[in-house]
Symmetry: C2
Subunit: 483 residues, 2 copies
């Protein structure tokens, strides 16, 4: 018997349905996904959170490489003059930029910013590298950190002053190719959300007021969180020739004349981890979607002194059998089996295997699913097949549950009264909208709701009127409060 | 026939043996490994350079994870007070730190630095996370960018104001465990150099004057470059309790008393890519060691209009057969086969396959090794086996060549006259040395040579005298000019 007792496990002490904000913070901190850094608005991503980001990187990196994208790395610092070259871009990012102290940079007259995004730095280089249509398309991505000096309240993973992301920046000789890829990368983001994160998202385009600073069109994948707030989970921007004009990215065509290039940029970030926590977590803590989890199974041997050797041997054999799922064996002394169950539930491991002396005697084990808590007795020789089936079933169940939730939350409204009532009920609102910047601003001030997107599968609606300003409106647009 | 001619390929115009510095810059720029950024001292890592870094990451990340290390991510910015907590560390890094402009950070009294290394930020967090011996060992690594505002002349990959690296930071309950791991990670660095980069390195420890600021001992892998300069390629630091004392990283032991923890830190960086270029490159350009190359084979079909279809079909079949080597087919029109040979030689792809209509007719191809230029006619059905053998032979030949070079360069000297003569001949010098900081400083000022390390396999030498100051000296120490 252990001489020393384990520390008390402090679980999640608030229900998700009662106070989602406090519940969220507790899950992030107690599951050890991340921690507050000692600098205001910054976070530390702990190993469990980093594991999720690495899984996303691994999955998405292979996808984009198969589409001909290559990784590169551009400087952290950007000269002030670069920002100013594209006016809308400069205005959009100016309030959020952190600058290097001038005396550190005596050899330059210019202020240097920490990158909030890398369009300007990358496109300055592109203008030197691209000469001919033979150099196109150029498809480059970087995985890096960016800093945006947020003034709004920060929240771990969802809004922090530094975050990790990927930014893809491609250049094409024709608008058609560029536009096609802009949407292809958007679909790749949807694939990440659906296949890896088990989160249904709506693909659509942003209104003018919500576009990326410097883009002709911004496409988005929007998620809808359990508290009735939308979350922008990834964006792909059709930049047209705005930046190629500003940075003089020109190529000599087959016609031997010079042409301005066409460009897109697209990004997803560690914010996706916040979406996973909010979407799938429950009152016990985190639930990691099976395809996102690195360690998909934890084996908890039930240890008594008399049968220790026998049980540990069986656990090791199971671990080996479940190697491709990166199964863990929790063989820690001083911790009871119950304590371990609670901890791994809080940390969201998809499947738990309980293995006691009686199980070993019967050549079986108990398999427990994290999302439903369902227990199943499984013969040891069938474990690999059953684990595989359960992981797949769990993924589909988690996705289907959310898909139903989003579907049930969607309400089409035709008056401002209905709009406000639906918003109070935390619905995802579909309404005819004019798309004008001023109208949207006024609507936001009145209701706190923002336009999320016009779904790609919407058709234009002739002769409609805007729900807010009554001016002509062609598109049904989604509205919600948002993160 | 192509209507449009390919641009002229501008190869390397200087011999490596005649002006290695200029040769190096040309290889980096013309092979498109990296480019100068528009900010002084910064670089852009282009896809070919990034591919090398990703291969190093992939290899090393798997190794350290197998040793129980987990990845995490800590903030880019570090409060000034953190630096000051460990005095030697603060003094060592102070001249190189870039600061954030104060007005950007109005809510804090404190200046914020861009991390030059993350000991202080990480150990502040560790002091909150570590409570008990059960929390140890804690083994955390991060892959990130760091900024050191170098005053010395910068050089692409070798010394830039921002670079990419990994920094491992581990905490232990005993000095023995800590010291053992400090050396284990050093051996892992040697493994990266030997197995992946095909560069022989000497493992050793640094003199006091060359230690990491804040360490009790710094271990290093030292490479010896073709111009007779040494290159520090990775370091592992025994930090003792210096930082745990400064940051109060304490754990309650099994004796239920509080103890200061033991720590090490260890890092390698994108500098390794510079080592690869210098060590293996030749007058034609880059030579990528086979195990480091992602694309290990390039297939160049020799295209004539009459036999195009037949040759392209055979090339596609070869590509498929050589899938695991990420073989590329260079099917570009407008470029002659000779042009392509020169370009891929400049870019250092280990093996080239030439495939013309006559080859296809004879069910064979021509295989060319990048390091030796040797050509071999290979039956198509044997290509996979032969490629595998040639890659392995190439790795061993490249390593052996360098190993002989280092061995032949090593000279043991016993007088300052011999020392200076050996240095003029660009040798790696072995001499008895007292290890005193002042003596080393004077020796460096006189000769420009620095101590590189005391190799791990040296034995203490009783009754010796320092080659420079004639004081008692116990250890044979290596000296050279260095990058």
């Amino acid at each position: 018997m252990p001489a020393e007792k384990a520390p008390k496990l402090v679980g999640i002490t608030v229900k998700k349905s009662e106070d989602m904000s406090e519940w969220y913070n507790q899950v992030v901190l107690k599951s050890e996904l991340a921690d507050y850094a000692p600098i205001h608005g910054f976070m530390v991503i702990r190993p469990l959170g980093m594991m999720m980001w690495e899984q996303i990187q691994h999955y998405f990196d292979a996808r984009i490489k198969s589409l001909g994208v290559q990784n590169a790395y551009f400087p952290l610092l950007i000269p002030e003059s670069f920002f100013k070259k594209e006016q809308e871009h400069a205005e959009g990012f100016a309030p959020e930029v952190a600058w290097i102290a001038q005396d550190e940079n005596a050899e330059s007259e210019e202020r240097l910013a920490i990158r909030p995004t890398s369009e300007t730095m990358m496109y300055d280089m592109y203008s030197k590298w691209i000469r001919s249509h033979r150099d196109l398309p150029l498809k480059i991505n970087q995985w890096c950190n960016v800093v945006r000096w947020e003034i709004k309240a920060t929240k771990l993973f969802l809004r922090t002053r530094e975050f990790l992301w990927q930014e893809g920046h491609c250049v094409y000789s024709t608008h058609e190719e560029e536009r096609e890829d802009t949407l292809r990368f958007l679909k790749e983001y949807q694939r990440v959300a659906h296949e890896l994160l088990a989160i249904p998202v709506i693909m659509g385009w942003k209104t003018k007021g919500e576009r990326f600073a410097g883009a002709n069109d911004t496409f988005t994948i929007e998620g809808f969180m359990p508290d009735g707030k939308a979350l922008q989970m990834g964006t792909s921007h059709d930049l047209g020739q705005n930046f190629s004009r500003a940075f003089q990215i020109k190529f000599s065509g087959e016609d031997e004349k010079d042409h301005l290039a066409w460009q897109n940029s697209w990004g997803i970030s560690t914010r996706l981890i916040g979406a996973v926590i909010m979407t799938h977590g429950d009152d016990k803590g985190l639930v990691i979607p099976p395809h996102l989890a690195k360690n998909k199974v934890v084996i908890v041997p039930i240890i008594f002194d008399a049968s220790r050797e026998q049980v540990m041997k069986a656990a090791a054999a199971l671990e080996k059998q479940l190697h491709e799922y990166n199964a863990l064996v929790d063989a820690r002394d001083n911790y009871s089996a119950g304590w371990k169950f609670n901890e791994w539930e809080m940390k969201g491991i998809p499947l738990r295997i309980e293995l006691g002396p009686r199980d070993v005697g019967n050549n079986q084990c108990v398999l427990v699913r994290r999302d439903t808590g369902q227990k199943k007795i499984v013969p040891l020789h069938e474990i690999k097949k059953v684990v595989d089936e359960e992981l797949s079933a769990m993924h589909h169940a988690m996705f289907a549950k959310q898909e139903k939730w989003v579907k049930d939350s969607l309400v089409t409204v035709s008056t401002m009264k209905e709009f406000e009532s639906a918003l109070a009920q935390r619905k995802l609102i579909r309404a005819l909208f004019c798309g004008q910047v001023d109208c949207e601003k006024a609507l936001k001030e009145k209701t706190t709701a923002t336009s999320r997107c016009i779904p790609l599968d919407e058709k234009p609606h002739k002769g409609g009127a805007c729900i807010h300003c009554n001016q002509p409106a062609e598109w049904y647009t989604l509205f919600a409060k948002a993160y």
